[in-house]
Symmetry: D2
Subunit: 332 residues, 4 copies
């Protein structure tokens, strides 16, 4: 299976190297607005550098990985599926749900596979938790809790273009909540504050936020986010059910612990996503390749991308208006 | 310091034995609607059995512990302070905030000390966390999380008289959130479901609930409650701040762990409040005695009781209406 | 059951207060070489102060607690049982195994109960571990590990009179190893060094030591001791068996944890035995009272005291000679 | 840097794949007594299959990895260094210390680098612990403890050829103890039993063992081994020092934990060395390549291999004779 990579930035490079490291996939071509980024990766793995258009037009390329800036995702997905490619696209499809819907309609007509990069579903810890949840170990789900805190805030310039915390950061947690709940939320209430960086608040965004959601059957999900955690990249999930609680915790940098008169001190947790989710990125690619080879639709789907976006939009509106927002994801 | 105990049920008995065990306090008299309950405790500690009225009229009694059913609290507080007693009353003062206000006015006029039994503030773990928070170890507070899950639901008959989960169970967590935030919430949003016991839902109450609150400066508090946790009495707090995270976890029944092919298994957590908060009850009494002896007002005050009740009322209304509710505790 | 207490020092005071706190026992009289120590405790619990001889002669006293200096234990045990008392004696019976044997012979003739204060058997964590071991949770025992480290070394003057680390400190661990193994060691090899305090080495003792023991069937026990642990009183046991591993860890001062850029820091462990083993002392007394009331021989017995002493003697000899020492406890 | 691999069994395959995965090294040729093993690996990485002699004679090969059966190690090391290759050899160099000495003399004359595969030194957790120990975080070292338990015993046929537990399994722990102590042991006492598999005992070996060692300055090391641990591959180290304790624990399969009425259950630990030490093998190769490129002698050296073997021999003798054995590693 031959891949073209569109976008060779931080995350694109990860995917590109993972494609190159597999025995059954080849990274054939790399495109990036920065010639340096493209050629540096291409050189490392023996790929060619090319324009996105050329890659999409190359009949010898089976699949494309879209890791370009968000505002190009929908156009590239459409172009790629129309060119007959299988497509893996980093989240989000677009910051506008209407644009996502149109894009997904094009994908559906094309009949080509589309997978969205909600990498956390493939983290071995979270995936194991979800499998055990589905196997009934915790009984009926009652409360899903997701905690996600970045080690430090992004530059304000990034924040301004990001669509806001709920769409840029918490979207991963909306997907995780849906993944764990196995039932769609029908109501979203959000609170947000700019406590970490005043400039983020001045840019109209928040850096500290919490959300409550409820499903039709009464299951509750709570999410909290912060753009700054002194102790590392905090990624925890917990599901309380009728038969027990399942949770997955952080991974510390090492297992070393020191005990002195000040107490017992363990390492900070792994910092940041490239380290914490290294295995998740590999397993995510594996799921994409396995699905494509087997002629099955890969998951998470474009619809998963749309639904997470709708929840992020609802949270953004709720935080702005101070009122809960109803959503109807089941009907989509 | 000589005490009279009004109400010798489960919690009254704890307080009575703690009074009797101290070198500087005497449990002089016990009143209870059940003659057996009163005499059993009185016999064990060498106290007399008496009617509440007689105890309040006894000039040799300095302080009373009110551990009777909730609907008698306000009347007994008023009668006791008017009789010149120092008063310790179990939460809540009343299920009606207006009644609490009138009662506190009477207390204020009397000039007598009143302490409300929010025992969790005195848990050595939570108290240490709060002290370290005040000392600035976590920096500026950003997100306060409180998890509280009972091991199993109370009988529906109890639920019907309880005022509902937010007033009966979560009131402790509202007090804890206020204790940790050190700033009053201004907005409350609540979700609740009856997932544990259908009969609780049919009685108009919930058994699974979550709340989000925000303070004027943007601090966020999240609380979740369940009436049933298979693994014990789950009592956790966590504060995320600008400089770090402080958290206090559960206490397992023993430190024993077994490792087999199934994994590493630790004990369930201590189950239930009489065990988990045994030290808290002793230290709570100690704080009351120390304050009374030193001529200082004991904490938590009647006002703390009122404010927690207002938050519980707001959550109850929010869960009913589906809308956030504003509160103005600073003004009280 | 009426008790006389011989020796009202640190440990005697604990036992005396525990006797006084029970509903079914009375601390009737206290003897101590220091009149202050005796009267301070006696006053607190309403006991009388008396000479040891008078207490032993008092027919209204059923049992005595011997908490005097070690070199008086054997004489007092003999006098007490000859006076018809039930006897609880702090470890060790004597530093000389021959003297212990003669003392136990006297006890046997008297027919009176004697219990030795190996308090750690009654620690709820260690007791639970032992019960689960006996129930077969770890399968057949293969390796028993005991770690015991004091927070700080005793004064050299104490060390000089102590009989040495193996008899003074590790004797508890020899008893614990026997308790867990449920089979007698037949061989003892010991290493010791003075690494903590040179003066201890100059006094002919060690402050850091490790022992290996083997039973006839090949089970292995390893013990390590240090007279100094910066992080508290380190008390851990671990049993590796054919079906799994059972272990019991330390108890931290609180459950509070702080996470910062330096990592996750938990509290030091409880420091020192009065705190760590508070429950063990209560439960140990309970076992003594229950046995005496039920007409059963209390455990650990005088023989347990003798066997631990023989192991301590063997370790002392092994550390001195550099050779393993054989012991024949089964034959006793 | 071009590598030849001698021996493409389980461990050889790991090293071969690691060589092939690096950008700066090439696995050029593979030799194995099993043509299938050799060609399977060669095919996967694009290497050639060849005889060991041919690989050693090939001037285009810079370094060889020796992963053949133990009894061929010394001969191959000698042949390889005489052919001018840099050599990485799996432990042990030989089961006979005299043969090791002769081999190392040949290596020294050749001037070629030799590194011995004590992979655990490169485990990120253990390496971090050692670095912090050297930085003084625990103060002066007093007690080093190493626990090493395999998940299940090897076949008896393997055991018969293995040199015995102390040379085959505990040799890693002897190296680890030396690595941590930073001072040579002068005395070794060992106990061993066949508790896991009677057939191992009948073959003259043990499957459960413990060792005590002492250095000239009085530092103590204790090691325990079992050939069977139901809960995974148990690999723990702990160093007690004057200023504190440093320890490194096991890695569980995932971070998932389930809480039910039976307690809190975490996963078994990683099972077995290919998984637990995957990173260690990569980092070990990295250290070899870095040293060779930089013209420095790689560590652990052949002398480290010899010294660990001498300790293993001493333990074997001690377990056989029941007496401690003195060793003089400083003089080597």
């Amino acid at each position: 299976m031959r891949f073209g990579l569109l976008g060779a930035g931080r995350i694109g490079r990860i995917h590109g190297l993972n494609v190159a490291a597999r025995a059954d996939t080849v990274l054939a071509a790399v495109a990036d607005a920065s010639a340096d980024a493209a050629s540096s990766l291409a050189l490392a793995v023996g790929a060619e550098v090319g324009a996105a258009e050329a890659i999409l037009a190359d009949a010898a390329i089976d699949a494309v990985l879209i890791c370009t800036p968000t505002d190009t995702h929908a156009d590239l997905i459409e172009a790629a599926v129309n060119a007959g490619k299988a497509v893996f696209c980093e989240k989000p499809v677009d910051l506008d749900a209407g644009r996502i819907r149109r894009c997904l309609a094009t994908v559906e007509i094309s009949g080509r596979p589309l997978m969205i990069g909600f990498n956390r579903r493939f983290d071995p810890n979270f995936a194991a938790l979800e499998a055990r949840l589905r196997a009934g170990e915790a009984g009926a789900i009652e409360i899903v809790s997701v905690i996600s805190r970045d080690p430090s805030p992004p530059p304000v310039e990034y924040v301004k273009r990001s669509g806001g915390l709920f769409r840029d950061m918490m979207i991963h947690d909306f997907d995780m909540a849906r993944f764990l709940l196995a039932e769609e939320p029908v109501e979203v209430f959000a609170l947000g504050s700019a406590l970490v960086d005043k400039a983020i608040g001045e840019a109209g965004d928040v850096d500290t936020a919490a959300v409550l959601m409820k499903t039709a059957s009464g299951k509750i999900a709570q999410i909290s986010n912060s753009r700054r955690a002194s102790y590392g990249y905090d990624q925890r999930i917990e599901v309380h059910g009728s038969a027990g609680m399942l949770r997955a915790g952080n991974i510390h940098e090492t297992t070393v612990e020191i005990a002195t008169a000040k107490g017992f001190r363990a390492d900070p947790v792994q910092n940041f996503f490239l380290e914490r989710y290294a295995a998740a990125y590999r397993l995510e690619l594996d799921a994409f390749v396995t699905a494509c080879k087997g002629g099955k639709a890969p998951t998470p789907t474009g619809l998963d991308g749309l639904k997470a976006q709708i929840l992020a939009d609802a949270a953004t509106e709720s935080a702005r208006t101070g009122k809960p927002v109803s959503v109807a994801l089941e009907a989509i």
